[in-house]
Every structure is written in structure tokens, then in C-alpha cells.
């Protein structure tokens, strides 16, 4: 089982009050090789530790960006993270090859359902119109752009549908991590080795505030 380590950049200001985002995250955080970095927990005052973020990116082969869509874009802290972390000499420019060849998986939740993203819908445009900014950001850094995973109408999604989306997310991540897609853990079944679960500072743990060193 070859494993590619995955860094999951999670940007949600209020994860405790979210419905879909938390479920989705819980579905993947125990996947082997996944390290979650919850930006709003790590940097409540937006003072991003750039070297730490860059080191986490360097160590991973897959970069996952998971966040709710805010005003057709990323939450402000994630945008700030782009500005501060993906800098010349690291992410682009003659010597900026740190992300070169890595895979980028965008996982985004939106309040509007699929009909809202139709020419006659609430947002007047198809969802694909809102993809290019993040996509080009990844491509400019030399990353392979994976098909985005979009969860529509996330906050009123019925439980089974949400579970299905979560399963899809998990499968996708396991594939990216170089592991066979496996069904969700069954009671009594072999639990994923806890030794390989990254416990970086700020790793998302439901119901508990992470401790920053």
C-alpha cells in the first residue's frame, strides 16, 4: 500500500455550528496519511505561521482545500492563506517549485442547490463559472487539478444524501492517497492504524479547541 500523504486545509470559521462541513471532515480525517489543518482554529487573529504552513505543504503529495463557499469564493482566512503562504520563491517564480506536481483537490460546500446554479437560478451562472479562480491558483503553482467535489444545498441536505457525499469524499481521498477505496469502518473490522494518523498541531478534533504551540 503506497501512501501519499495528504494535507487537508480546512477553512470554516464556525465548524461547531456547521452541519455539512463537519460531517464531511469527520468522514476523512481518520484516513491514513491525512493531516488536517483547521485554519480558523490555528490562526484566529489571521497571523498565519507561514513557515509551518509551507512545511506542511512540502511534506504532502496531495493538497485538499475544504471550505464553505463564501460570496462565490473562499473564506477570507483561506484567501489570506493563499496570499501569505503561496508566495514567490515557494509556490511560483524561478525557484518556487515546492508544489510542483502535487495534486489539488477542491472540496466546497454551498448553500444553494444545483438549480440555483443555472442561468435562470438564484446565482445566474453555472457553478463552473466560479471554479476558475481557485483552479488557476492551483495550476499556477504547478499542481494537478482534480475534479472539484461540490456539495450543493449542504445545510439542508437529508442525512442519507450527506452520508453519501461524505462517502464519496472519503473514497476520493483514499484514491488520491494511493489506497484502495474501502467501505467505511465496520464495528469489529480492522481500524486504521492510529500510528500513521498525523497529529500536527491544530489538527481538527471535534468539540475540542486545538492547542497551539
Amino acid at each position: 500500500m503506497s501512501d501519499a500523504s495528504v494535507v487537508l486545509i480546512f477553512a470554516h470559521p464556525y465548524p461547531d455550528r456547521s452541519i455539512a462541513s463537519r460531517k464531511l471532515l469527520e468522514a476523512v480525517e481518520d484516513v491514513e496519511g491525512v493531516a488536517v489543518r483547521s485554519l480558523y482554529d490555528l490562526y484566529p487573529t489571521f497571523d498565519i505561521d507561514v513557515p509551518a504552513e509551507q512545511a506542511a505543504l512540502r511534506a504532502a503529495q496531495v493538497v485538499v482545500l475544504q471550505h464553505p463557499m463564501y460570496w462565490y469564493s473562499v473564506p477570507s482566512l483561506l484567501k489570506h492563506w493563499f496570499d501569505k503562504v503561496l508566495i514567490r520563491g515557494f509556490a511560483y517564480g524561478p525557484t518556487g517549485k515546492a508544489l510542483w506536481g502535487k495534486r489539488c483537490q477542491w472540496v466546497v460546500t454551498t448553500g444553494g442547490d444545483e438549480q440555483a446554479f443555472e442561468p435562470q437560478g438564484m446565482h445566474n451562472r453555472p457553478f463552473s463559472d466560479f471554479v476558475p479562480v481557485v483552479e488557476q491558483t492551483a495550476r499556477f503553482c504547478g499542481m494537478h487539478w482534480e475534479d472539484p467535489l461540490v456539495v450543493y444545498g449542504a445545510h439542508r441536505l437529508p442525512e442519507p444524501e450527506l452520508a453519501r457525499a461524505a462517502g464519496k469524499y472519503r473514497d476520493r481521498l483514499m484514491t488520491l492517497a494511493g489506497q484502495r477505496p474501502t467501505p467505511a469502518r465496520e464495528p469489529g473490522g480492522p481500524a486504521p492504524s492510529s500510528a500513521s494518523v498525523t497529529t500536527a498541531t491544530g489538527r481538527y478534533r471535534p468539540g475540542r479547541a486545538p492547542v497551539r504551540s
Binding site: Y40, D41, G111, M122, A209, R212
Partner: protein
């Protein structure tokens, strides 16, 4: 009268800048000016003794100013340094000097007087030199000052002792004289404590600046004369008066008024010393005088080195103390004068010793230059430190460099911004100088200090003084004299914040507020609130809190309201807490619910 004044002024104006340009210091310049115009030079002015006597007022004024800076409490803390260290210095220096005099053939009574008199140093010379070199706030400067203070006190019994030892023993210390001494000191204390302030207030109210100046001079000279009449050192009397007025609201005004007189008269004093150098005697007995002066300086210098060790001066600076205090003092002139009239000193000895003292004063700047040369060679790491200070055209002045100001200063320093620091803690100042800060010792509310710190050119004053009253004084002084200087202020508490804001300051922060907010956030986090949310709650709390303060400001400015507010402080707190709660709940309770979030941002999911 007018011609001699013109001669003195011209001599000073020519010689002092010249000496300064040659890096010899102003004292040497004045002394040279005195030598040139004196009876052994161009002979344009005669009677150096009269000039010297008159110019001693400069020393008196200087000690008054020093006294103004020392409050009684501060003086009390110096008691060990003054009486312990001072006594050690006097004994350790007087014994070898007296033995030396004995070896030169003086009778024991004369040797005793000579030893004690030569052990005294010149307050005028060393204080001037220390002031110029900014040494007063350093540990060695403080030690030197304490020793000088003790010498001023010790001079009184010494002068009383001389007639006893003389061959024509006149009546010594009578009970009446003793009673007069104590009576006079008591009178000065009473005047300084109870009479001066109401009179100053009365005069200040007339708004006649020159009358205020006149009264200041009258006060100092009057007290000096009163003390002299009782046989006490004039300088000591003035010092006492200064200490008694140190706590008064007129301290700064007094100081500003005295300052130019002090400077001019001190200059005159040094000129007079230069004039009194008896070059005739020097020409007649060059070998004799060389032995006396060099022996005097060597014995005293070495003894002072030992004293410096005994009173705990750091190793590097022991010889600095020695160089600072090795000279003979102006008291020696008086003592030798009295000794001559008491027929205590045989033959030419009073002239020789007087000359030796004058020459030793001239040697002080030379010794310091030698010390600096030697020290520079021994400690090359400190070589560049003076240069960095000199060219400091700092844009920022930080007043107060305690726990608070330090953080501000370090942040600025880390950002490559040079700041000039005003503080009154000598130890802190020492270490700051090492990092190239320009540091001025003393009370930041002093105008001359602010000016020296470059308040006219600076862009910003960081007001980090902890004491609200001092802080307000500084604000008033800056607003009056340097209206262009922007102020960023630290407030001790809400009422200090109100006072600063009502003076029109825009940037005022309460010193504990932000750190308490941070602790509050951490507490919320430990209780399970997400960091970002804890931060938002804190931000919300801050906004609301500041709004409340701002709205109270206009009411606070109305004095009647203020007393009303003060009375109901507890009630206020309770009301404020209820309001805080309501505010935070309104925004964080159901307020952040999914529906509202969605209404705000349609593309959002929870």
C-alpha cells in the same frame, strides 16, 4: 564692572567652543580662559579671589537644581551611599594625603587639615563634567554624587575644626553656635516647606515671569546667605532648599529660571579658578609643585580606586570614579584661607596647596581623556557606542521605559526605528545605551530634557509613564511647547484614559485591557469555544466597551456629572456588565444561526 563682564563673556565665548572642538570639555576651556585673562596672563582682570567668591553662587545654584531633582524619599534611599560611602571616602583619602603632607615636613595639625581638605573633591568640576558626559544617571555617577554630598556636609565640621588646631586657638564650637546651626536649618526647612509655595503661587498668579525669576534667585541666595551666616556651606543650604521644593508644582519653572544663571556663574567660577592659578609660584618652584600635585593626584587617585572597590563600583568604572573625584575642591580654598588666618599652615604652604588644588581641577578633564583612551583600548567592544548616540536624530521619543515602554521600544527597535528614551531609572539607562538608544535621565516632564531629546524635531511621543499625574503633566507640557508632536499614550485606568482623552489625545490605550482580553479569550478556548469565535467575542466586547467609554467621555468632561459618575461607580459596573452580556448574546446566541448566515451570504453553506 561692565568691561570686566565683557571680558569674561568674550573669554568664555572664545575658549569654551575651542576646547569643545578639541574634545577637551568646557571646564578646561573656562580654566584656560581664566588663565589667559588673569593676573598671570593678560592681566585684564585682577582680584581673582573676589571673582571666585562671587562665582561660588554658581555652585550654590547648581546644588539647588540638584536638590530640585531629589525628593526627600529619594534622598532617604541614598542615605547609605552618602553617609557610609562618604565616610569611607573621606577617611581612606585623607589618611594617605595627610601622611604625605607629614612627609613633606608639615606639622601634624597642618598635615591633618591638609589631608582632610584635599580629600574633598570639587562638586563644581565633577558635576559639570559628569553632566557633559551624561554620567549622572549611571551607577558611577550616582556614587560620585553621594560622595560629593557627604563632602559638602563634612566641610562644616572641618571648617569648625581648623581654628581648634591652629596655634592661636580661638573659641571653638560654642553651644550658641551649635544652636544657631540647628536653628538656621530648622528655619530653612520651615521656609522651604510652608512659606515658599504660597508665595510662589501668589507670584505665579500675577503672571509676571521676571518677578517669578527674581523671587527664585532671592530665595536661593537668601537661604544660602542665611546658612553662610550660621557657618554652614551655602551650597548645602541651597541643596536643602532644592530638596524641599522638589515635590512642588513649581519645580520645573524654578529649574528653567535658575538654569541660565547657573550655567553662566559656573563658567565664571571656573574662569576664576583659572585666574587664581599662581603661575609665579609655579615658575619659582616647578619641582616642588610637580611633586605636590603629582603626589596629591596619585595618592588620592589610588585611594579613590580603593574606595570605589569598597562601595561596589563595577571594575571597569573604578578608575572612572577615581578620575572624576581626584581633584581638590573649592572647599579646600576656603579651608586653606581659614587655616592661614589661624596660623596653622606655615610659610607658603597655603599658596602651594591652593595652587595644587587649582591645578588638580585643570587636570580632571585631562585625567578623563586619559581614562577614555585607556578604556577604549581595553574594551574595544564599547568603542563605537558614543558615535551611535551622537547622531541620533530620533523621530520617536519614548517617555518611561519600564515594563510597558520597553515592549513598545523593542518593537520599534526591531523595526529599525531609533527612539530616544526618557527614564529615571539609571540601571535601565545603562543597558539601553549599549544598544544605541539615546537615553536621557530624569523627569520626562522637564522642558529642557524634552528639548534635549529632540522634541522639536521628533514626530511622535510614546507616553509610557505609569504615574497618571506625571503623564498628564507631560501631556500639558508637550501640548504647550511642542504642539506638532503627536502623542500615543498609555492609560493606567479608565479615569486616566478619560483625562487623556479630554486633553484631546486620540490614541490612548488602557494598559491592562488588551492583555486581559487575551486572557479572557484563552479562558473561553479552554472552555471549548473555538479560537476564532473566542476572538470574535473578544472583538465584540472591545467594540462595545470602547463605545461605552466614548459615550461617557462627554459626560465625564462635565464636572458635576463626573462626581455623579464617581459616586455610582459600582452601580455603573453592574449596569455595564448587564449590557455586556446582552450585547454578546445578541450577536453570538441564535444570531449566528444558519438562517441568518444564509441571508447574509447566499452562497454559504453550513
Amino acid at each position: 564692572m561692565l568691561t570686566s563682564t565683557i571680558i569674561y563673556l568674550a573669554a568664555a565665548v572664545i575658549c569654551v567652543p575651542l576646547a569643545k572642538a578639541l574634545r577637551l570639555g568646557s571646564v578646561l576651556g573656562y580654566l584656560a580662559a581664566g588663565c589667559i585673562i588673569g593676573p598671570f596672563g593678560l592681566r585684564v582682570v585682577s582680584d581673582p579671589a573676589a571673582t571666585l567668591h562671587f562665582a561660588e553662587i554658581g555652585v550654590v545654584l547648581m546644588l539647588f537644581v540638584i536638590g530640585l531633582e531629589l525628593e526627600l524619599g529619594h534622598l532617604w534611599r541614598l542615605r547609605r551611599a552618602v553617609f557610609g560611602g562618604g565616610l569611607v571616602q573621606l577617611v581612606v583619602c585623607a589618611v594617605p594625603l595627610g601622611l604625605g603632607a607629614l612627609a613633606l615636613g608639615l606639622p601634624w595639625q597642618a598635615a591633618l587639615v591638609a589631608g582632610l581638605a584635599l580629600a574633598l573633591s570639587s562638586t563644581a568640576v565633577s558635576m559639570q563634567v559628569m553632566g557633559e558626559k551624561n554620567l549622572l544617571p549611571t551607577p558611577v555617577g550616582r556614587s560620585a554624587f553621594a560622595l560629593l554630598l557627604f563632602q559638602d556636609i563634612a566641610a562644616i565640621p572641618l571648617l569648625a575644626l581648623v581654628p581648634f588646631l591652629g596655634s592661636e586657638a580661638t573659641a571653638g564650637v560654642s553651644w550658641a553656635a551649635l544652636a544657631r546651626v540647628f536653628g538656621t536649618v530648622l528655619l530653612v526647612v520651615l521656609i522651604g516647606r510652608f512659606l515658599t509655595r504660597p508665595v510662589l503661587r501668589l507670584i505665579a498668579r500675577t503672571g509676571q515671569r521676571e518677578v517669578f525669576s527674581a523671587f527664585t534667585l532671592l530665595l536661593v541666595l537668601g537661604i544660602a546667605e542665611l546658612m553662610a551666616g550660621a557657618g554652614i556651606s551655602m551650597a548645602l543650604g541651597a541643596f536643602l532648599a532644592g530638596v524641599l521644593l522638589a515635590g512642588s508644582e513649581y519645580r520645573h519653572a524654578l529649574e528653567t529660571d535658575i538654569e541660565p544663571f547657573r550655567g553662566l556663574l559656573m563658567g565664571l567660577f571656573f574662569i576664576a579658578v583659572g585666574m587664581s592659578v599662581d603661575f609665579g609660584l609655579l615658575a619659582r618652584e616647578p619641582v616642588n609643585m610637580a611633586v605636590i600635585v603629582l603626589g596629591f593626584q596619585l595618592f588620592k587617585g589610588l585611594s579613590l580606586g580603593a574606595v570605589a572597590w569598597a562601595i561596589g563600583v563595577s571594575r571597569q568604572q573604578r578608575w572612572l570614579l577615581s578620575a572624576l573625584l581626584a581633584q581638590g575642591g573649592e572647599f579646600a580654598f576656603v579651608v586653606f584661607g581659614v587655616a592661614r588666618s589661624a596660623r596653622l599652615l606655615p610659610g607658603d604652604w597655603d599658596a602651594r596647596l591652593t595652587l595644587a588644588v587649582a591645578l588638580s581641577m585643570a587636570l580632571t578633564p585631562v585625567l578623563l581623556i586619559l581614562y577614555e583612551r585607556w578604556f577604549e583600548r581595553c574594551a574595544p567592544t564599547n568603542e563605537r557606542q558614543p558615535d551611535e548616540i551622537v547622531d541620533a536624530s530620533a523621530q520617536v521619543i519614548i517617555a518611561g521605559f519600564g515594563r510597558f515602554g520597553q515592549i513598545v521600544g523593542r518593537l520599534l527597535f526591531a523595526s529599525g526605528i531609533k527612539a530616544t528614551v526618557l527614564d529615571h531609572d539609571p540601571d535601565r539607562i545603562e543597558s539601553l545605551r549599549k544598544f544605541g538608544f539615546e537615553v536621557h535621565y530624569g523627569d520626562a516632564t522637564r522642558l529642557d530634557l524634552l528639548r534635549a531629546a529632540g522634541a522639536e524635531r521628533a514626530r511622535l511621543l510614546v507616553l509610557a509613564i505609569d504615574d497618571p499625574d506625571t503623564s498628564m503633566q507631560l501631556v500639558e507640557a508637550v501640548q504647550e511647547h511642542f504642539p506638532k508632536l503627536a502623542i500615543v499614550a498609555r492609560a493606567r485606568d479608565v479615569s486616566h484614559w478619560q483625562r487623556l482623552r479630554s486633553r484631546g489625545l486620540r490614541v490612548v490605550e488602557r494598559e491592562t485591557f488588551e492583555s486581559a482580553m487575551l486572557i479572557g479569550r484563552k479562558a473561553l478556548e479552554v472552555l471549548g469555544v473555538r479560537p476564532y469565535e473566542a476572538r470574535e467575542r473578544a472583538d465584540l466586547f472591545r467594540t462595545h466597551n470602547v463605545q461605552t467609554l466614548e459615550s461617557m467621555l462627554s459626560r465625564w468632561e462635565n464636572e458635576a456629572e463626573r462626581t455623579n459618575l464617581a459616586r455610582s461607580a459600582r452601580e455603573q459596573l453592574e449596569q455595564q456588565m448587564r449590557q455586556d452580556r446582552a450585547d454578546v448574546e445578541r450577536h453570538t446566541g441564535r444570531g449566528w444561526s444558519a438562517q441568518e448566515e444564509d441571508a447574509r451570504a447566499p452562497a454559504t453553506a453550513k
